[in-house]
Amino acid sequence: MTHFLVTRILSALLALLGVICLVFLLIHLIPGDPVEVMLGESAQPTDKETLRHALGLDLPLHQQWWIYFKGLLHLDLGTSLFSGRAIVDLLIERIPATLYLSLVSLLVAIGLALPLGLVAAVRQHTPLDYGAMGFALFGMSIPNFWMGPLLILIGALWLGWFPVSGREGWNAVVLPALTLGTAMAAILARMIRSSVLEVLGEDFMRTARAKGLSSTRAVLHHALPNALLPILTLLGLQLGGLLGGAVITETVFAWPGLGLLMIEAIQQRDYPVVQAAVLCISMTYIVVNLLTDLLYAWLDPRIQFTTGEG
């Protein structure tokens, strides 16, 4: 177990280092000059040079990288070129909103996908199965930028139950979470269906039924737990995607999260904020994937065993 843990954590750290390098290079690879962004077109060349020196942009690349890396270790991500605010403060302000939206979306997705996937598996090749999978196809096909306004029209304008956008009030999360959650539920439902179908044919399921368990009990207590592994992997990936990929949904619903921050920073060419947001999202993916791997190993002892031998 220790060997498995150390290997996984080391590989995650390696991936993180790669991400840090790429994110650092971002400022040097994309077109544009941060100094010009800050001072505008009318700035004098001497002023530009002064600021370039003050920002350390005239130093050799490896020295700049080292300064950037040391800053990261001290949680110093720099300041926004436009607002002048510390980027750490901006992230602290935005991350809880994204985290909250992602968690609620995940609950919506599980709440929708679990019954749909199970019903589709248990009632295979019946109208219920076709209906559930039709919904899944529908959910996957509708883009968020269309689903969002549609839900606003129904939920906020026609019914008046939820606010159109923003994060004020307890019910403000419903529409963005439904928008994000339905797309995820669609993929999850299909995965649950195929996973459960595979398990339903196993010997231990026959044993469970033979000992007199009801069909519902057999499915919930024996089929579902054994079908969890691939579902968990997908959930991990999806959660990473949710945390980093809520950009469109956050823009549509003016949800003050990380995605909206990144979009604003890209539009304004606020390079340090873009760097920090990309780093944050990449780190989320790495951490969630690491946790999924560890959870996977904890759930299925055969995995760590195999890894240990290999």
């Binding site: 077109p31 302000e93 231990f204 737990p225 054994n226 549509v252 979009i263």
Partner: protein, 541 residues
């Protein structure tokens, strides 16, 4: 007897019979089924993270497409920040009718061509921290901008200042390197308290000015709350990037006011809606087509003239902009003191365009090809497509390249274009001509991005700036604009109107000529709010 969770699991009679290969997975699922405390904790956590403070109902909400990026006037360059900073800070000089500089905080006298004296008008306003604004604050603000260490983007134009003196508490003297009759028009930056500048106060986060509104809070980057000093009315600016969602929010009365930045069809839709009022006013934001003069195709004056004749601006304004614009012939509208009302431009004439192209050496078999750069904004892209079609009709092939704003603007500033469309926003002082068209103003020194070079135009710009008599100056600027229309570094398109859409629950908002938010000083609720706050008692006794 209290049965613990573990005991309950162990009492299950059939557990050993089921030889599931994934025992721990099962245990985990059982845990989820039974451990309702875990679910309660998750829900509790979500509600703690999710609950945000809601503002009371009497706050008036203003929908914005973009958040203000910097509330420190020394650094703010975007239009939203500039408009908000006008509410929070006061300035020495403002612009009046005909965009002529007029006194705001101070009147001025020209003691010599290089010496201006500004006298602060009494009563001098109080800063939001209670201190009274003085000449020292003015000096400290401009000295801070002129300090290279501040890295202010406004330093460029103000570098003409060599010294600032404060002979009295009410008087500020500015000494210049050289005569510049447009100088008072440069002093429009909000004044900050000198003692806070010295302490390095974070004005970008906590602005302290002497304007009619004071900063209250910024709950997050998408919301900003300010309070009117006269009566305590609160205004919350809410950033809603998506125009459709902004529209829906106004319809749902979640915001009460919108200004500009909507596609024309949404403006028309909202204007016909009961409960929404539309105000419209002619604007001065100048939309144009720019060209790279070094390019072998659009570098030819004949081709640019053909393009000018090929574009049906009247029809685009009527059908695409829904009448909310007027045709432009030059950078300033006719009502500007330096504008040129009698200038006649290029009429829509496809036959003339074809003739000019033929004269330039092009025909049906040898069509000029132009790459047209624009942003990814859907409306700008639609306009580009229409212009592409109209140019195709006279024999010009156009390929459109749309990039995100940062890349597009970066390309334009670096001269990586053949033809592009853009607009000058909020331009008031005629020194823009030198900045945009003088042959010495090639980036990075200026904004002559197309490398336009014309000896006559250069001479007229310099002469106009050095002339101290306003009438002579006006005549020179008019001659210059006629010259620019003849040589066409830009093909002028139109001036887009400003509009404001307001809920009928509010009244008194006056749309300003340059699209600023000064009208918020007079805005009122139609009736008293449902729960009048104590601080509004003066409004609704």
């Amino acid at each position: 007897m209290r049965i613990s969770f573990q005991e309950h699991r162990d009492l299950r009679p059939n557990r050993s019979l089921v030889c599931s290969p994934i025992g721990s997975a099962k245990r985990m699922l059982h845990g989820f089924q039974l451990n309702w405390r875990l679910w309660l904790m998750v829900l509790g956590l979500i509600s703690i993270v999710g609950c945000t403070e809601s503002l009371p109902d009497y706050t008036l909400r203003f929908g914005l497409a973009n958040s203000p990026t910097n509330l420190d006037p020394r650094y703010a360059t975007d239009a939203t920040s500039a408009r908000l900073n006008r509410l929070l800070y006061s300035r020495l000089v403002d612009f009046g009718e005909g965009t002529i500089p007029i006194p705001a905080l101070a009147t001025w006298r020209e003691l010599s061509p290089i010496h201006y004296r500004f006298d602060l008008q009494e009563p001098r306003p109080l800063f939001h921290n209670g201190a009274r604004l003085s000449a020292n604050d003015v000096k400290a603000t401009y000295a801070s901008i002129l300090n290279p260490a501040t890295a202010s983007p406004h330093r460029g134009i103000l570098q003409i200042i060599t010294r600032i003196d404060t002979p009295t508490e009410n008087t500020v003297d500015f000494f210049l390197k050289q005569p510049d009759s447009l100088f008072p028009g440069y002093l429009v930056i909000g004044i900050l308290p000198a003692n806070l500048i010295a302490k390095g106060h974070p004005f970008h986060d906590h602005p302290i000015g002497s304007g009619p509104f004071q900063f209250l809070e910024r709950p997050d980057d998408t919301r900003l709350v300010i309070e009117r000093r006269a009566d305590g009315q609160r205004i919350e600016f809410v950033r809603i990037p998506d125009p459709t969602v902004r529209t829906l929010k106004l319809l749902a009365n979640e915001i009460h006011l919108l200004q500009n930045d909507l596609p024309p069809e949404l403006v028309t839709y909202l204007s016909t809606h009961k409960g929404i009022t539309l105000q419209q006013r002619q604007g001065a934001n100048f939309a144009y087509l720019g060209f790279n003069q070094l390019d072998p195709v659009v570098g030819q004056e004949l081709v640019r003239k053909a393009i000018a004749h090929a574009i049906d601006r009247e029809h685009i304004i009527q059908f695409v902009l829904r009448g909310r614009a007027r045709v432009a012939q030059t950078l300033f509208p006719p009502e500007h003191w330096a504008g040129h009302a009698s200038l006649s431009g290029y009429a829509y004439d496809p036959e003339e365009a074809k003739r000019l192209l033929k004269e330039a050496g092009y025909d049906h078999d040898h069509r000029p090809t132009i790459t047209y750069k624009t942003s990814t904004d859907p409306f700008r892209l639609r306009l580009a497509t229409i212009i592409q079609y109209q140019l195709d009709q006279v024999g010009i092939d156009v390929s459109i390249q749309s990039h995100d704003w940062g890349t597009f603007y970066g390309d334009i500033k670096s001269g990586r274009f053949q033809m592009y469309s853009l607009a000058w926003v909020g331009v008031k002082s005629p020194d823009i001509f030198r900045y945009a068209f003088h042959s010495d103003a090639i980036p990075p020194v200026g904004a002559n991005r197309g490398h336009f070079a014309d000896v006559v135009a250069d001479r007229l710009m310099i002469q106009a700036e050095q002339t101290l008599n306003r009438q002579e100056q006006q005549a020179l600027y008019r001659t210059l604009q006629a010259r620019l229309l003849d040589t066409l570094p830009y093909v002028p398109l139109w001036f887009e109107d400003h509009y404001a859409l307001a809920s009928t629950t509010i009244t008194g908002y006056q749309l300003s000529a340059d699209g600023n938010f000064d009208g918020l000083s007079q805005v009122r609720w139609m009736g008293p709010p449902s729960v009048p706050p104590t601080h509004l008692a003066r409004l609704y006794p």
